[in-house]
């Protein structure tokens, strides 16, 4: 049984769909690497010419079966555009949120990458029925020199609402910087603002001592979370894990994922 405090109860589709490595690096809301699950939250990453890839993750928030989240994405290049399809599901047999995303990306002058996703949100509650809404995400990634990228994203600009009660779906403005001061180090700073909540400030660092291994640490302010994790790269596979410790709740949770890239 799960008890929620009504004052902090989030609305439908508030759970972020990001990869274990993004979570490990301070819940970075944008993709860290190409060919990763991050494409669901940031389709700019599929705009570069790349081979067919797929990625998936599984997550039981706080170890609770009722709060299970699974995500899957497949993507590749079609002519000069990156295209992909994302799928995520959150909840349990009685309450489930399903999101299907059609992803598209375009690279312009190796300077700007624009990503757009069309999201279909479906909420299903046993004995109550289901409701569907269509939302969108626009993301722009800009190479501010050889070592710094800035990324801006707007989720659900089209103001989607769900069901007869016309519940407003989350609208989120995210701004981030991804820096690569050294070949083995990446750092991120991001600001995520759901228009209904205070801004969330996020910091993270990824250290890659070898090609096959990386470790990540991060900190999220609002809510207060310490994060860590990493990945192991083996042949065409990458296995990721993210561990989140919620300081205020005194609870922790972890997320695992795997991605596969076809080498042409």
């Amino acid at each position: 049984m799960v008890f929620f405090c009504p004052n902090s109860l989030e609305s439908a589709f508030e759970s972020e769909k990001i990869s274990p490595l993004q979570n490990a690096a301070g819940a970075f809301p944008f993709s860290l690497y190409a060919n990763s699950l991050g494409a669901i939250s940031d389709p700019t990453i599929i705009s570069n010419n790349q081979s067919l890839f797929s990625a998936g993750s599984h997550h039981r928030k706080f170890g609770l079966k009722s709060l299970t989240q699974s995500c899957f994405v497949i993507g590749g290049t079609f002519h000069q555009y990156g295209v992909g399809l994302g799928l995520s599901r959150f909840g349990n047999p009685n309450y489930s949120e399903t999101q299907v995303s059609i992803l598209g990306g375009k690279n312009y002058k190796e300077l700007v990458q624009i990503g757009i996703s069309l999201n279909m949100y479906q909420l299903s509650i046993t004995n109550y029925g289901q409701a569907v809404a269509i939302g969108s995400r626009v993301t722009i990634r800009y190479a501010m020199g050889s070592n710094v990228e800035s990324i801006i994203s707007l989720l659900n600009v089209n103001r989607p609402v769900l069901g007869q009660s016309r519940e407003k779906l989350p609208q989120v403005i995210a701004t981030g910087f991804l820096a690569k001061p050294h070949d083995q180090i990446r750092g991120q700073v991001s600001l995520v603002q759901d228009t209904e909540f205070p801004i969330s400030v996020r910091l993270g660092l990824i250290y890659q001592p070898f090609n096959q291994i990386a470790i990540a640490v991060g900190k999220v302010h609002q809510p207060n979370i310490f994060t860590t994790g990493g990945y192991i790269h083996w042949k065409n596979f990458r296995i990721e894990i993210g561990y989140l410790s919620h300081a205020n709740l005194g609870l922790s949770t972890y997320q695992t994922g795997i991605s596969y890239t076809r080498i042409p």
Binding site: Y108, S150, V157
Partner: protein, 590 residues
């Protein structure tokens, strides 16, 4: 006469020495009064000019002519530059400062578009996005904004497309029409009494411009075009939109706040539907320009509807050394307004005057003519005079505005008011400049603070001395001392500001410190530390201290990151928790 004037200036400069200290100068727009607003479109235009152009070219000169604060001579110089005459631009100090400030960096290849993302933390976080892309045949631009606490992610947005087809200039989307001298259709911010007002009032509107401002209820929305006729040029527009405003007592007013946070604000969002048709015909004559404006609008809300027709005749005339202008407007509400004036220029001597008479309850479509009081219900008439002359390295500028309400009402509002300003600026050498301004105002104030209505019938004197030290293009300092008092015997408000600017190859930093001692209602205004594309002022309503800094990092030839941090102690003894503010801005171009 010259000796007498020179002695007077020396006397004033000796007085300034008592204000102590040194320091330096910044942008041209900082010469404006921080108590008055500057159109946001100007700031965004400057941002576009910096990122879309490398130098003064016919294209960049066209954009420069849209800046509201340029004088008629300066816009003429830019027009002549477009036709191949360079001399007048070189002879205009302000244009030279502008071009040096905008394009002082190493030239990069021409860019096609520019984009700005700004997060500004105040009571919540305001987001603003602005972008323009030039596709050659057409230009597309847009602005998006979400104010603090607003639930909608894109609470306000504005888009335009500008193109040229067979001698017709078309603007589709959000646009503004600057016609005549502002009696029928103008920008969202009017010209106010200040140094240089005669220049601004004299300047004729330049027709249709894409709307770049964050004012949410000012733009026309639809189609605007300009077409040459056999005799003259026709500029016309049609618009239909919903906007925030009020229809009361047969009068229409747009809302200036743009906030949609409270229940009533959200309910009243787009509460009025507006349909507008407007046309302007103008032609050049032997001695100037004449024009005729005809416009009409219909406004509807749930309870009421209103129509208004407005017409005006305007002209600019050159007679010997005099440049004269006038506009006379009449509306179907049986109200009329007139504005007129002139400017005499003889070598470095300038004299200008502006007369206006605006009927009580006068309104047209987007009128915003030069006036001192914002209150439209009581009307206004007045005369402003201005003199500017140079003596060696010293520039003197004096203006005086006398005005009165046409309708008198019971209560605190005075019927008469005046405002006088004296500005003396002396350049000792290329590094050191001292500027001193004295401004005396007597008029009922019209603003509200958080707790009560503010009204003052005493003359208020503001004395401001600015000492600017420009060590080099990359290093400058400024000290500004300000004193303000009511002439009713109460103590003065005092403020002192220190500023320093240091630039390196890719980094730059501005640091501000202000300490202010405030007496009752004599608030002090300083320009705040600002990011490119914004021009906020910092108002001190109580004694305290303020530390601000802005840092910029030039990440590549095409992009910059700007950060602003500030801390305010609203207590003289620092015995209070300081208020932190910040802003982040990303400028990129492609």
């Amino acid at each position: 006469m010259q000796t007498l004037a020179s002695a007077l200036i020396k006397l004033v400069l000796v007085t300034l020495v008592f204000h102590d200290t040194t320091l330096g100068q910044y942008d041209i727009i900082e010469n404006f009064d921080p108590e008055k607003e500057l159109p946001e479109s100007d700031l965004l235009l400057l941002n576009n000019l910096k990122f879309l152009h490398n130098s003064l070219t016919p294209e960049s000169a066209t954009l420069l002519t849209q800046l509201s604060f340029l004088s008629a001579e300066e816009t003429l110089a830019l027009e002549e530059f477009k036709n191949g005459k360079l001399g007048n631009v070189d002879n205009s100090p302000r244009l030279k400062i502008l071009t040096v400030h905008l394009w002082s960096d190493v030239a990069i290849s021409k860019t096609k578009g520019t984009f700005l993302h700004r997060m500004n933390r105040t009571d919540g976080i305001q987001y603003k996005w602005f972008g323009t892309v030039d596709f050659g045949q057409f230009t597309v631009g847009g602005l998006g904004e979400r104010d603090p606490q607003e639930v909608d992610i894109l609470d306000y947005h504005s888009l335009f497309l500008k193109t040229k087809f067979q001698n017709f200039d078309y603007t589709i989307g959000n646009y503004q029409m600057l016609l005549g001298h502002g009696l029928v259709s103008w920008r969202s911010i009017p010209v106010k009494s200040d140094f240089g007002t005669t220049n601004s009032a004299l300047r004729r509107g330049r027709g249709i411009q894409p709307f770049r401002s964050g004012h949410e209820s000012w733009a026309y929305q639809g189609l605007g075009w300009t077409q040459p006729l056999r005799q003259g040029i026709l500029t016309a527009g049609i618009s239909y939109r919903n906007l925030d405003g009020s229809l009361e007592r047969k009068k229409f007013k747009t809302s200036n706040s743009g906030l949609h946070v409270s229940k009533s604000q959200i309910e009243n969002r787009g509460n009025i539907s507006e349909t507008v048709g407007i046309a302007d015909w103008g032609r050049e004559t032997q001695h100037g320009h004449v024009g005729f404006i005809l416009g009409g609008a219909a406004w509807n809300n749930d309870k009421d509807n209103l129509t208004n027709l407005a017409t005006s005749v305007y002209g600019n005339y050159q007679v010997s050394n005099w440049q004269l202008f006038s506009e006379l407007a009449y509306t179907s509400q049986n109200k009329n307004a007139i504005v007129g004036g002139g400017k005499l220029k003889h070598k470095s001597f300038h004299y200008g005057f502006v007369l206006r008479k605006i009927d009580p309850d006068y309104f047209a479509l987007r009128d915003n003519v030069f006036r001192n009081w914002n209150n439209q219900e009581l009307g206004e008439m007045g005369v402003l005079q201005e003199i500017r002359f140079r003596l060696h390295q010293t520039m003197v500028n004096i203006y005086s505005d006398l005005f009165s309400r046409i309708r008198k009402i019971e209560g605190e509002f005075q019927k008469y008011g005046h405002e006088t300003g004296i500005n003396i600026e002396h350049r000792f050498n290329t590094k050191l400049r001292i500027q001193s301004k004295l401004k005396i105002q007597e008029s009922s104030s019209e603003h509200y603070d958080y707790t009560e209505y503010q009204s003052s019938a005493f003359p208020v004197s503001t004395f401001k001395t600015t000492i600017k030290w420009t060590q080099s293009k990359r290093q400058s300092y400024q000290c500004q001392i300000q004193e303000k008092h009511n002439q009713d015997g109460n103590p003065s408000s005092w403020g002192i500001q220190f500023r320093g600017k240091h630039l390196w190859d890719r980094w730059g930093i501005n640091i501000y410190w202000v300490t202010a001692r405030i007496d009752e209602k004599n608030w002090l205004y300083y320009w705040d530390v600002n990011l490119p594309g914004e021009m906020k002022s910092k108002v001190f309503t109580q004694s305290g201290h303020y530390l601000g800094s802005s840092i910029y990092y030039h990440t590549s030839d095409y992009s910059e990151i700007h950060l602003r941090l500030s801390t305010a102690w609203n207590s003289w003894n620092f015995d209070i928790v300081p208020i932190f503010r910040g802003a982040l801005q990303i400028n990129v171009s492609i």
